[in-house]
């Protein structure tokens, strides 16, 4: 029911939306909860386990009950808080975890079985018969559990992430936050003020009180206006700071467009901020807690502060006959505010015998609500007091068990707050989070005047840390009432029958569950939590943890401080994964890298494969070719018989210069490079310090003090980092400089008997075998473009790699390919490249997969005895040099038509196919057009001594079971004459 003249809503702007298909009429400034409450809605949700009807309980993001689903289709958004969701025209709201609706939920039958569903019941049953757990019981539990539902469709919303930096981050813009921000901003500090509400003011918007002689919300609006006008202040509304991380980093979620009816496609829905602050102030206020009494969860039972909050901010009376039940002075405000707004206050019930509040309504001191009635909405309460039990007809009950300072963020670094008897609450202690200080109600200050004074003082202290002096900021005068409280956690049961007093409304944890847990020796607070699921629901125990802790303390005969607390962990409020993972959907997860020939390759319809963020062509189909094998076989033949061209720019290239460059390379590679002649190229193998192979590649000596190293595509970054490490940590005395030139050069392999013929058609100076013998390198010129030419071969053919500055890459690639085609050759892809190298026994990272040594791949003798190098000592460990290690071999099927598969395992003939008997495995296979059969490479126990042996080749996953002969890794042109010719 709306109360005329109350509330901060704009009654001139009506807005309608739907709740479970029914139209709701609200106003600008309403939330889903306030508008629906105004129209008399009682049930907002169903509880998790027993499907009990639940009403709205709070006004904030801590709301445990009023969780709803917004929108439908791909935009469907489950578990949204009705208490914070602003309404807009056409908004669709649906109740959840209920069938057919929250008002009439057939799952409510669960509640009847509650005696059997107590704490930890599932650990004790469903064990027999075993098969039924996964088939019957577990699916039943899974279907009943959960809250809202995902749509199952791809999320298509746009979200973003951002970084911000400031001197002072103020978290929360209630009286404390506003005061702190104002004090710091006036002193010139760079301030970020973040609040989860759309409007600043916090509790001032929910209370009827004055600051500086004007209504609190007016003071808040005035301060907001001043802050908004300052260049050094960034006000972030609808922004919840979610976590405190190391060195002053905070996470924050900004809801950018969730309150907008039709945002543009480019408008982000949410933005996840990383805010770096030199200092921070936590002004997050306090959250009111309930009291456990029988049936304290009926719709219509709310927090006392929420009842008056709905009245003062939204002009909504949550009931027509309202009672208030509390254990502290603050609760009385609700009765007074309601009364002055003309609402019937049935009773003010205070558990304290000596409570001294006044008001024009019936007052019961020393009384407690002990039971309630009303299945789908509160109808009656029972109050026990010295004068016996009294029953009152009410439709709303405001409850206040006191206030818990919002210390959550202070605990994000494992700090534990301390129990304070006076306020009956946990308060932050010093240095829980470096640089973060709690102020105001978050620090246990409960009068507005005390809050303002505390915030002002802490802001000045923060300014001192920042090296700033405060300008004159006068602390305004405000409400300064007492905040007396007497702990009350549970009203003793007096009525007979099976009745439960609820703690965690969301997870349906009652005081019985906590006591049972204690009885079963889940006496540690962490055990109790995990056994009962207390505090593990979406509110993470914000509403109930302290109460549950008090019950556990009582059940185990300890006091609250001894019993301890559980840990609060980030995020403070749930954060959508779309926001946290913004930008990653689709291709955004990792950058894409493109070579200069990419477009030309795409133009030729080559399927692309991914290689270390790069895209490389798999094969280049030609008309009439039906399978990739057709294309691959043709490309292999082309290289073997004419000339092929392929882009090898993705291989890492590192420019290494300096007087000590050769010496440096000697220390990095197992073999010698200082002895390499200028104008020559050498194959090198580098190890990790643990003695296993890191990477391989060729390194060219371009000048006396100038080398160009190539790495594999996958390891380029790792090798660069490694070289920097070796230089900066082990070889600081060496005068050597290095920089990646991978991107500077577009580099193409030109391979095949006609490779020189092709090159001579484009080089400004012709080459021959004398000027460019095998493994020669140097500078060349092509139509005036300076390039580099390396005579190296990964195919076993007479071959070169030619490099030009990348700006010419596209042009040169197209030219090379068309010239190759006129010579009967053409472009080839990774499939053909793979076959060519398998025929030659050349390794890739399929073979040097991290577990192999130089010994394993037959390069043990390359380790130079003349010098130390990275990994040398570790590679000499006895276990890395045993004959029984798996060694690199070639594999050839006995049956020429037999297909081989990579991933197969090898077994000695006659051995049973058990894991124990496995003799090795297959790393690479390809179809050799030259030998007209499949070839494989793999690792075999003592393989080098077993050349010629027939062994079992077993791929049970793909049902390829055959016999192969162990051969040398190189099977094509073993003498290497073709590359030298």
């Amino acid at each position: 029911m709306r109360i005329n003249g109350k509330g901060l809503i704009d009654r001139s702007t009506p807005i309608s939306f739907s709740f479970d298909g029914k139209k709701v009429q609200g106003f600008q400034g309403d939330t889903v909860a306030s508008a629906a409450l105004a129209e008399g809605r009682k049930i907002f949700g169903r509880s998790f386990k027993y499907h009990r009807p639940r009403g709205v309980m709070t006004t904030g993001s801590e709301e445990p009950n009023a969780l709803v689903t917004l929108h439908s289709g791909a935009a469907q958004d489950p578990n949204m808080r009705a208490t914070t969701q602003e309404i807009f025209e056409g908004l669709q709201v649906r109740g959840q975890n209920a069938w057919p609706s929250v008002d009439r939920d057939l799952m409510g039958v669960n509640d009847l079985l509650a005696p059997f569903f107590g704490a930890g019941f599932y650990y004790k049953t469903f064990m027999w018969p075993g098969a039924l757990w996964e088939k019957l019981w577990e699916p039943m539990i899974r279907r009943a559990a959960g809250l809202g539902a995902l749509s199952g469709e791809h999320d298509t919303s746009r979200n973003e992430k951002a970084y911000a930096f400031c001197d002072l981050l103020v978290i929360g813009a209630g009286p404390a936050g506003l005061m702190a921000a104002l004090t710091a901003a006036r002193a010139g500090a760079d301030v970020i003020l973040a609040d989860e509400d759309a409007r600043l003011g916090g509790r001032l918007l929910l209370e009827d009180e004055e600051i500086e002689g004007k209504p609190g919300h007016v003071w808040a609006a005035d301060v907001t206006a001043e802050l908004m006008g300052m260049d050094n202040v960034r006000v972030m509304t609808r922004t919840t700071v979610t976590g405190a991380f190391d060195q002053g980093t905070y996470g924050a979620l900004e809801r950018v467009a969730q309150h907008v009816a039709a945002p543009s496609n480019d408008t982000p829905r949410e933005c996840f901020w990383r805010i770096v602050a030199k200092r921070a102030i936590l002004a997050a206020g306090a959250l009111e807690r309930s009291v456990a009494f029988a049936n304290n969860d009926r719709p219509g039972i709310m927090m006392a502060g929420a009842v008056r909050g709905y009245l003062n901010r939204w002009g909504v009376a949550a009931g027509q006959k309202v009672a208030v039940f509390g254990n502290n002075d603050n609760a009385w405000r609700t009765a007074r505010d309601l009364k002055s707004a003309g609402v019937d206050v049935v009773a003010m019930i205070d558990s304290r015998k000596d409570a001294t509040g006044e008001g024009d309504f019936p007052i019961i001191t020393g009384g407690m609500v002990s039971d309630t009635r009303g299945r789908s909405g509160l109808r009656e309460i029972t109050v026990q007091s010295a004068s016996g039990d009294q029953k009152f007809e009410v439709d709303c009950l405001g409850v206040s068990g006191g206030w818990n300072p919002s210390v959550h963020m202070m605990c994000h670094m494992n700090g534990r707050p301390a129990w304070d008897e006076a306020t009956q609450s946990f308060l932050p202690v010093d240095n829980m989070v470096p640089g973060l200080k709690a102020v105001g109600s978050a620090a246990g200050k409960f009068s507005t005047q005390a809050v303002l004074e505390d915030a002002h003082a802490e802001a000045i202290s923060a300014l001192l840390d920042l090296g700033l002096t405060s300008a004159d900021t006068v602390i305004p005068t405000a409400e300064d009432g007492a905040h007396n409280i007497e702990g009350l956690w549970e009203v003793p049961h007096i009525s007979k029958g099976y009745k439960r007093a609820w703690l965690d409304f969301q997870n349906d944890v009652s005081t019985k569950d906590v006591r049972q847990a204690a009885k079963e020796n889940f006496a540690s607070v962490e055990h109790m939590k995990r056994y009962t699921t207390q505090g593990m629901a979406p509110d993470q125990g914000k509403n109930s943890n302290v109460n549950a802790l008090a019950i556990l303390a009582d059940a185990t005969g300890r006091d609250i401080p001894t019993t301890g607390t559980t840990t609060f962990r980030p995020p403070y409020v749930p954060v959508s994964l779309a926001a946290l993972g913004a930008g990653a959907r689709g291709k955004g997860f990792a950058p894409e890298r493109f070579v200069t020939s990419h477009q030309a390759t795409v133009d030729r319809n080559a399927p692309m494969i991914e290689a270390g963020l790069w895209y490389r062509p798999s094969y280049y189909p030609r008309p009439g070719e039906k399978t990739w094998r057709d294309s691959c076989d043709r490309e292999v033949n082309m290289v073997r018989n004419a000339v092929g061209v392929t882009d090898v720019s993705t291989l890492g290239k590192i420019d290494i210069q300096g007087p000590d460059a050769g010496k440096f390379l000697d220390f990095v590679y197992i073999n010698m490079f200082s002895t390499l002649k200028v104008g020559r190229v050498r194959y090198g193998l580098m190890l990790r310090e643990d003695g296993h192979v890191m990477d391989d590649g060729t390194t060219a000596r371009m000048g006396e003090n100038h080398y160009v190293m190539t790495t594999t595509t996958a390891a380029a970054g790792q090798v660069m980092k490694h070289l920097e490490f070796v230089h900066q940590v082990h070889c600081t005395d060496m005068d050597v400089r290095m920089i990646s030139t991978t991107e500077q050069w577009a580099q193409f392999a030109v391979a095949g008997p006609k490779s020189r013929e092709l090159l001579n058609s484009i080089l400004d100076e012709k080459i021959d075998n004398e000027s460019w013998p095998f493994m020669a390198c140097g500078e060349v010129s092509l139509s005036g473009v300076n390039g580099r030419l390396f005579r190296i071969s990964f195919s076993g053919e007479h071959a070169y790699e030619i490099a030009v500055p990348s700006r010419y890459g596209d042009a040169l690639f197209r030219d090379l390919v068309s010239r190759a085609e006129t010579l009967g050759g053409g472009v080839y892809g990774m499939e053909a490249l793979n076959v060519l190298r398998i025929e030659k026994g050349f390794i890739t990272h399929a073979e040097i997969h991290g577990r192999v040594t130089a010994f394993d791949i037959g390069m043990g003798r390359m380790v130079s005895a003349k010098k130390d190098c990275i990994g040398k000592t570790a590679s000499q460990r006895p276990g890395l040099n045993l004959d029984e290690r798996e060694q690199l071999v070639g594999l050839k099927p006995l049956d020429g038509a037999q297909q081989l598969s990579s991933g197969a395992h090898l077994f000695t003939k006659g051995d049973a196919l058990t894991a124990d008997n496995s003799q090795g495995y297959v790393t690479s296979v390809g179809y050799s057009t030259s030998l007209e059969c499949f070839l494989g490479m793999g690792f075999l126990v003592n393989g080098r001594a077993r050349i010629g042996e027939q062994i079992q080749f077993i791929d049970r996953l793909r049902d390829i079971i055959t016999t192969v002969e162990v051969v040398e890794p190189v099977v094509f042109d073993p003498e290497g004459g073709r590359a030298r010719g």
């Binding site: 970084y163 991380f245 190391d246 060195q247 002053g248 980093t249 990383r274 770096v276 670094m413 470096p434 310090e689 643990d690 980092k721 920097e724 490490f725 900066q728 940590v729 082990h730 600081t732 130390d868 040398k872 000592t873 570790a874 460990r877």
Partner: protein, 93 residues
Amino acid sequence: MRIKCPLCGERDRREFYYQGAAIALNRPAPDAGDEAWNDYIHNRENPAGRTKDLWHHEAGCSAWLVVERNTVTHEIYGVELAEDVKRGSKNAD
């Protein structure tokens, strides 16, 4: 987590690559024996508290850094260029 690179200033952890304990600075001689090498490559003090480790400012200036910090609180006490540490003394600790 933020690390103050001596060259670039304070930067987000995401710009850095982590290598491990700063024992890596003290590479034994090739003939130091298998215990020395086993200690160098594998065995670690792994303190719960103050430690020194090696980081690489990979997305920044490419410097290798020795970071002195606390493994329990994540407080950072100081950051030096690894090459300066290496030149300054034989031992990193």
